[in-house]
């Protein structure tokens, strides 16, 4: 599909016809070309992003029947109702706990891995490959692997606990542990990608900085905290926002591992939207929750754009 750059030369052999005419054509036709080039994307985004977003906001301002038809205008009362509902507040708290847990452990462990793997040792490339391996794991596979490990009777953790004559932990039936189970699985899935990005950042820190510090007799710990961390802080910020946004949108693992349970302990925002809309038929409430989710995600994406602005200067 892609032609090699040498096409430049073949083009210059072919094209010798009146230059002025064609340059003129180029500019005059920009309007039509732009319609042609942008049209398909605008159409798709309009139909599947802008329209549904406006519609969701619209529905959130009404009461709806079980068919999703709007009945009575409710203003912001749906929002007021939600923010007073203990059930919804629980979802918010649970989501926040999950996001904080996932982000903290993903970054801390990836940073440790990336720092270790950036050392110039023989065979280090093997470890780099191994550490990035979870990038190739999709939600359903991760869920199956970990469900087996967490399984209370035949699971790997249970078998180890039995062998050590300890009582196995109820990973999935105890509310607190279920949250940990979901966090552990998510962090494991996130590691590969975050590790690779951070490794790239650490490797691009100028070696001369470390050499200078070594001459001064600075300890490796000092070098890590005073050179590596500050130098990679933009990338760290970037992967943090990506991890946070991803965690807020989490659905697949929740559905596969806990189904929001036990007793709503892992009933996070997106899972709630799905349940309210497609199980309970409460479209107004689901839409209101969707708008709240949008506000949260938009805020973090804005933060990320701020980073991109600073980082990229042409």
């Amino acid at each position: 599909m892609l032609k090699s750059p040498t096409t430049d030369q073949t083009i210059s052999k072919k094209q010798t016809v009146s230059k002025s005419k064609s340059t003129f054509k180029l500019n005059a036709n920009d309007k039509y070309f732009s319609l042609l080039f942008l049209g398909p994307s605008l159409f798709i985004l309009g139909l599947f992003v802008f329209y549904p977003m406006i519609k969701t906001f619209y529905i959130s301002m009404f009461l709806t029947n079980t068919l999703g038809k709007t009945s009575v205008f409710a203003g912001f009362s749906n929002y007021a109702k939600l923010l007073q509902s203990p059930d919804f507040l629980n979802s918010l708290v649970v989501t926040l706990a999950y996001v904080v847990g996932v982000t903290f452990f993903t970054l801390a462990i990836s940073l440790l891995l990336a720092n270790l793997a950036s050392k110039k040792l023989p065979g280090i490339s093997i470890f780099r490959t191994l550490y990035s391996v979870t990038m190739g794991v999709s939600v359903s596979v991760a869920a199956i692997f970990w469900l087996f490990i967490f399984n209370p009777s035949t699971g790997f953790f249970a078998i180890i606990a039995n062998a050590l004559k300890m009582t196995p932990i109820n990973w999935l039936t105890d509310p607190k542990n279920a949250m940990w189970a979901v966090i552990i699985t998510t962090v494991w899935m996130n590691l590969g990608f975050t590790f690779l990005i951070l490794l790239g950042a650490i490797e691009s820190v100028p070696q001369t900085l470390y050499e200078a510090a070594s001459v001064e007799g600075a300890s490796p710990r000092f070098q890590f905290f005073k050179i590596t961390l500050p130098m990679i802080s933009p990338t760290l910020f970037f992967v943090s926002t990506i991890t946070i946004i991803g965690a807020f949108k989490s659905f697949g693992l929740i559905d596969l591992i806990t189904k929001g349970g036990p007793t709503n302990a892992t009933n996070m925002l997106v899972y709630r939207i799905y349940k309210d809309a497609f199980y309970s038929g409460n479209y107004a409430q689901a839409s209101t929750e969707a708008i709240i989710l949008t506000v949260i995600i938009a805020a973090f994406t804005l933060l990320q754009f701020k980073f991109l602005e600073k980082k990229v200067n042409y």
Partner: protein, 275 residues
């Protein structure tokens, strides 16, 4: 001397740490793949060190479940999504970089806004739309909404902007029209970004979970992510061996591709991150 010893010990400790961490990260794979070779009977008894190893679970997964059909569905849908995104994202990115038209900044602003809106928050009207269009339980429902992406456009725009101005001038002098310049110059010049976006969009489509779960109901269009869930709920806990084999069947090819492409992927990712 003492210093040498010291650095040797440090070195050994580093390797020990490196290996220990690798083992922890890989443990779920090892456990999953190991149990995929064990009879479910032994797994149920907790006899993980059984020596009754066989490929029976794999044979069962291939012959008794529609896993191949799920894989084929996922592959076709992800490939088509990738090709469409490469085409439409590069076209809109081209328009934003090389075309002058009224409202360009406004439209680009709209694209940026799109990136802030999570798809998960739009599922209710989108479900109604695809139902209205008669697309439910069909490949099209998993492809059409994702024909383009604001993120892809944004990423390619950043890359296209770095196309040297001399190339544009030369093309103008040669009298290339926009199609020729786009196809023969801009796309080949930005090959790396295109491949990065290709990998990104393929993986994105491959890992979709919520949307296919809502919109597909039969094995004809069910993708692998939801297919595994289906197997798991049908076989609830009684055939762990086969479930692990199914998971292994899916994960092994991706890991091999990752091993081969790791070096390449890394540079692509970093490029994407910095841009």
């Amino acid at each position: 001397m003492a210093e040498n010893n010291n650095s040797l010990i440090k070195r050994i400790l580093t390797y020990v740490l490196l290996i220990a961490l690798a083992l922890v990260i890989l443990a779920p794979f090892f456990i999953g793949i190991w149990t995929s070779f064990l009879p479910t009977m032994d797994i149920a008894k907790g006899d993980l060190f059984s020596t009754n190893l066989s490929f029976d679970n794999y044979v069962a997964a291939f012959t008794k479940t529609p896993i191949l059909r799920y894989l084929a569905n996922s592959f076709v849908i992800s490939t088509l999504t990738m090709v469409a995104q490469l085409l439409f994202c590069s076209m809109s990115a081209y328009a934003f970089v090389f075309l002058k038209f009224k409202g360009r900044n406004f439209l680009f602003g709209l694209f940026l806004v799109t990136m802030m809106l999570p798809f998960e928050a739009q599922i209710i009207p989108n479900f109604q739309t695809v139902k209205f269009l008669g697309m439910l339980d069909n490949y099209s429902v998993l492809i059409v909404p994702f024909l383009t992406s604001a993120f892809g456009t944004f990423m390619l725009r950043q890359s296209f902007k770095q196309t040297p101005a001399e190339l544009k001038e030369a093309s103008d002098i040669e009298g290339l029209n926009h199609f020729q310049f786009y196809w023969n110059v801009v796309l080949p010049y930005n090959k790396i970004s295109m491949i990065t976006l290709g990998a990104y969009s393929f993986l994105g489509a491959w890992n979709q979970y919520l949307w296919p779960m809502l919109t597909t109901f039969s094995n004809n269009s069910r993708v692998i992510q939801n297919g595994l869930r289906q197997l798991q709920s049908e076989e609830t806990f009684n055939d762990w061996g086969m479930i692990q084999a199914s998971a292994a069947i899916i994960v092994i090819p991706t890991i091999i591709v990752l091993f081969i492409g790791q070096h390449y992927f890394k540079s692509g990712l970093n490029e994407g991150a910095v841009k």
